[in-house]
Symmetry: C2
Subunit: 105 residues, 2 copies
């Protein structure tokens, strides 16, 4: 194992809303995500943890919208329809179970 | 769910090396850890992911020592003897599987 420098890894990301895998933790993935604009509404049968490293992120769910700034985190519970949005580029660390598929609205 | 502000949560931590649970992500915990001084050498049969938010952290393993600064992360693989050390207070986000026990050296 070598250590992971989050900002250096982020430089490798060319495409927004395309999870960039940092490492596996048992049967979980740690991803970096570059959020830019609006992602499609979706849900999945597992929890998803978002931690904002830079930029401003909105998590839009049916009953509420959560606005996150750097240093803030949110858990989208399993089976919850959600979409992510960022007016400008934002960098997010994501933690979720491996191998499961999203259902798009 | 409400959003989690990491630094505000950190203010609630009174004791170092005593994982403070932020949220569960399926069968994983997200913890905050206040590292201050040296923790005991231990291992556990599951991976542990460390992400340093503030301060400087050393992860001392039998074959190598990894020094981490804010924005850096490291995975200690399962069954690897390790101890954590921080010369001054450091704040760390930790991801690991729920319910498993550490074995101390």
């Amino acid at each position: 194992m070598t250590k992971i420098n989050i900002l250096k890894e982020a430089e490798k990301i060319k495409k927004s809303f395309n999870p960039f895998q940092l490492v596996d933790v048992d049967n979980f993935h740690v991803f970096l995500g570059l959020f830019d604009g609006d992602y499609r509404k979706h849900r999945h049968p597992y929890d998803e943890f978002f931690y904002v490293i830079s930029g401003l992120v909105e998590l839009v769910m049916d009953r509420e919208t959560i606005a996150l700034k750097p240093g803030e985190a949110f858990l989208v519970p399993k089976n919850t329809w959600h979409k992510s949005a960022a007016q400008k580029k934002a960098l997010v660390m994501l933690f979720e179970k491996q191998g499961l598929q999203s259902e798009f609205a």
